[in-house]
């Protein structure tokens, strides 16, 4: 009997040790510490305007998860954010800073809407995949332009993707005000897509309907995880991101992988755009991105470029965004949420500052123990 008890104790100890090690890892501690620190600073800001931070944060949680409708709204916001987060994270893994998820999302949405509107007379099982693939291809191609320029001429991807964002956004405006405008509306929006191209709705409360887009996003996260962890393609892309020259010496082509990584990164953002059009708006609105591509950067950083981390980081951002309206009703400007997001990213950027602060605390504890 004693042996078994000893074994159980050993196993427990082992699990505990693994858990402690996991939580002690930088990839977990840095984002978590940054989030806590930012929420704390925001609480001070809320206090300074004479409001109760506890009331504010309760309103925030109630507004994002408090009832079914709130939960659905959060899930609707979450859907594209997972994908843009994955997009930026995938780029980071290859050592590329894809600041262009915004433009790639727009192109994906535009392509999906074009297919959704003009493919008529086919069943949903044909229309939906075609429209989605159209979105993926358009986003991927838009990303691959930046990849190609980087590989071929050394143009920095941050600059080229910023430029491509503007070109995409102006093209979108041109389309919805011109050739792709819904007839007779005079409003910048495309015609509605055909019913066959609309993603099936899973659950619907009042005006909010959650489509299967969220499932698509989660599947994408799993696929990206598998590709990065278990395939040769993923290994090569990570190798190029980790040390391009060593990778090239080892026979991995930098150019090929840079273009490929930017294509995949763009394709994920394009998928986000397609899912937004097919599952939510059912038409192309031109300016529908509203910073989702930019949020992808925050999400990738908070999720430390790990697909699973990205899902949780996207959930955090989606919940903050949804819940902030409830905070507004409680008299606290909802912009406090953007301040929180900015602070988290700032602390992640100054990783060393956060580390020094944590270490300082640990050292103090050690001193106290002695």
């Amino acid at each position: 009997m004693g042996d078994i008890e000893q074994m159980i104790r050993d196993i427990k100890k082992k699990i505990f040790k693994t858990a402690v090690e996991f939580f002690k890892r930088d990839t977990f501690v840095i984002p978590l510490a940054s989030i806590i620190l930012s929420l704390f600073i925001a609480a001070l800001v809320i206090l300074s305007i004479g409001k109760n931070p506890l009331v504010a944060y309760t309103a925030l949680i109630r507004g994002s998860f408090g009832n079914v409708q709130a939960f659905i709204t959060t899930m609707i916001k979450l859907t594209p954010l997972i994908l843009t987060g994955l997009s930026v994270a995938f780029g980071f893994r290859a050592g590329l800073f894809n600041i262009g998820a915004e433009g790639q999302l727009t192109m994906g949405a535009l392509a999906a809407a074009l297919f959704g509107v003009y493919i008529v007379g086919v069943p949903a099982i044909v229309a939906i995949p075609i429209a989605i693939l159209g979105g993926i291809a358009a986003g991927g191609a838009w990303g691959a332009i930046a990849g190609y320029l980087k590989a071929e001429t050394g143009a920095h991807e941050v600059i080229s993707t910023i430029m491509l964002n503007y070109v995409a956004s102006l093209l979108a405006n041109f389309m919805v005000n011109g050739p792709f405008q819904a007839v007779g509306t005079g409003i910048p929006k495309s015609p509605e897509i055909t019913d066959a191209a609309k993603l099936p709705i899973m659950i619907s409360v009042q005006a909010s309907s959650l489509s299967i887009g969220i499932i698509i996003s989660l599947i994408a996260a799993i696929i990206v995880y598998i590709v990065l962890q278990r395939t040769t393609v993923g290994y090569e892309i990570k190798a190029v991101g980790f040390n391009p020259y060593a990778a090239e010496y080892g026979g991995i082509s930098i150019a090929k992988n840079v273009v490929l990584a930017m294509f995949v990164s763009g394709a994920l953002a394009g998928l986000a755009g397609a899912v937004e059009v097919l599952g939510l708006h059912h038409r192309f609105l031109g300016t529908l991105s509203a910073g989702k591509g930019f949020d992808g950067i925050s999400i990738a950083l908070i999720g430390q470029n790990n697909p699973i981390g990205v899902v949780f980081a996207a959930l955090l951002i989606a919940a903050l965004r949804t819940g902030s309206n409830q905070m507004q009703f409680a008299g606290i400007p909802k912009h406090i949420i953007i301040i929180v997001q900015g602070l988290v990213i700032f602390f992640i950027a100054t990783e060393r500052l956060v580390k020094t602060m944590i270490l300082w605390k640990e050292r103090k504890e050690e001193v106290l123990q002695e």
């Binding site: 800001v45 305007i49 800073f97 600041i99 320029l149 071929e152 001429t153 050394g154 143009a155 920095h156 941050v158 600059i159 080229s160 910023i162 430029m163 491509l164 964002n165 503007y166 070109v167 102006l170 093209l171 405006n173 041109f174 005000n177 011109g178 930019f294 950067i297 925050s298 950083l301 400007p333 912009h335 406090i336 949420i337 953007i338 301040i339 929180v340 997001q341 900015g342 602070l343 990213i345 700032f346 992640i348 950027a349 100054t350 990783e351 060393r352 500052l353």
Partner: protein, 318 residues
């Protein structure tokens, strides 16, 4: 033929050039700011956020004091503070410069939106405040045609041009400028020669904050007399493009900003040409030109631009 007449019409109109100058001024300030920062080796995509903060600060302090010049002065301080914050993150703590820039953009959007509601009691836009009075320069006004363009502009437009000239002198003709360039090209050698790399980088980034903030102030108290949420509207990124298009040099940034301003002004003027009967959406295609041009230039298909060798790389002292 109609096209030709319309284009000649636009280029004969002095107000086309005046509008070009007004549209270019915020870009001149911000892209010049970019030149300072990147010459010392620090990428500053936070220009967008700093412009927004400058636009906001100048409106708030003009609102409080009733004097737009005090508003401008406060924009300078806020810009310097935000530049210092960026430098703290990426010079002292050697963080990723683009991540820190992203954070500052978010912080600025959040803080201006938050304070806008607190100070003016409503989201969206501030109350109207006094705008900076224009300078009517008699000597210029007497010149035919040109007088209509440069005789009656916001003082900040003239200041922008003066800043460009002074910056060219500072960066290429003074000891400090030489140090800035040395730090941006090869910080290790500069360090060996006894140059304080961190201090020089701080100087570059803080200067970029001040200039970008002035560009933002021009948008609000220089022109509109009001702050509206997110009013920088991507101009910080456009300024980044102008800086690259201008090959990381003050006069280059000026030229590129004028070109971008011209494209914007041209696309609007084109619609007023009744001879062409253009659909309104065509302006989006014209607005695209500067970005496509910048892509072409960055890709090295036409001409060659080159960033400072150590641009974007944190420097760690031994």
């Amino acid at each position: 033929m109609n096209w030709l007449i319309a284009i000649v019409n636009i280029f004969m109109n002095p107000f086309f050039y005046k509008s070009m100058l007004n549209k270019a001024t915020p870009l001149i300030f911000a892209s010049l700011g970019g030149v300072y920062s990147e010459t010392t080796g620090v990428v500053n995509i936070a220009l967008e956020g700093i412009m927004l903060a400058g636009a906001f600060a100048s409106v708030v302090f003009t609102y409080i004091t009733g004097n737009p010049w005090i508003g401008i002065l406060m924009a300078v301080y806020i810009g310097a503070a935000m530049g210092a914050l960026h430098a703290l993150a990426c010079v002292t703590y050697r963080g990723n410069q683009i991540v820190s820039g992203t954070a500052l953009i978010l912080l600025s959007q959040g803080a201006t939106g938050f304070l806008l509601q607190r100070i003016f009691g409503q989201p969206g836009s501030s109350d109207l405040v006094k705008t900076l009075p224009t300078w009517k320069i008699e000597a210029f006004r007497r010149i035919p045609f040109v007088g209509l363009i440069i005789g009656d502009l916001s003082p900040l437009v003239y200041i922008a041009f003066i800043c460009v000239i002074c910056s060219h002198f500072l960066i290429f003709k003074t000891k400090l400028g030489l140090r800035m360039r040395a730090v941006g090209e090869n910080p290790e050698s500069a360090d060996t020669l006894g140059i304080d790399v961190y201090n020089v980088r701080y100087f570059g980034v803080i200067m970029s904050g001040i200039l970008a903030s002035l560009g933002g102030a021009f948008l609000s108290v220089g022109q509109l007399g009001q702050f509206t949420e997110n009013m920088s509207n991507g101009r910080g990124f456009i300024a980044l493009a102008a800086m690259i298009f201008g090959n990381w040099k003050p006069f280059g940034a000026l030229g590129a900003s004028l070109l971008f301003g011209m494209a914007e002004s041209f696309s609007y003027q084109l619609q007023t040409q009744s001879i062409l009967k253009l659909p309104p959406e065509i302006k989006y295609l014209f607005l695209m030109i500067p970005f496509v041009l910048t892509l072409v230039v960055v890709a090295g298909f036409v001409g060659k631009t080159r960033p400072p060798a150590s641009d974007g790389i944190p420097y760690e002292k031994e």
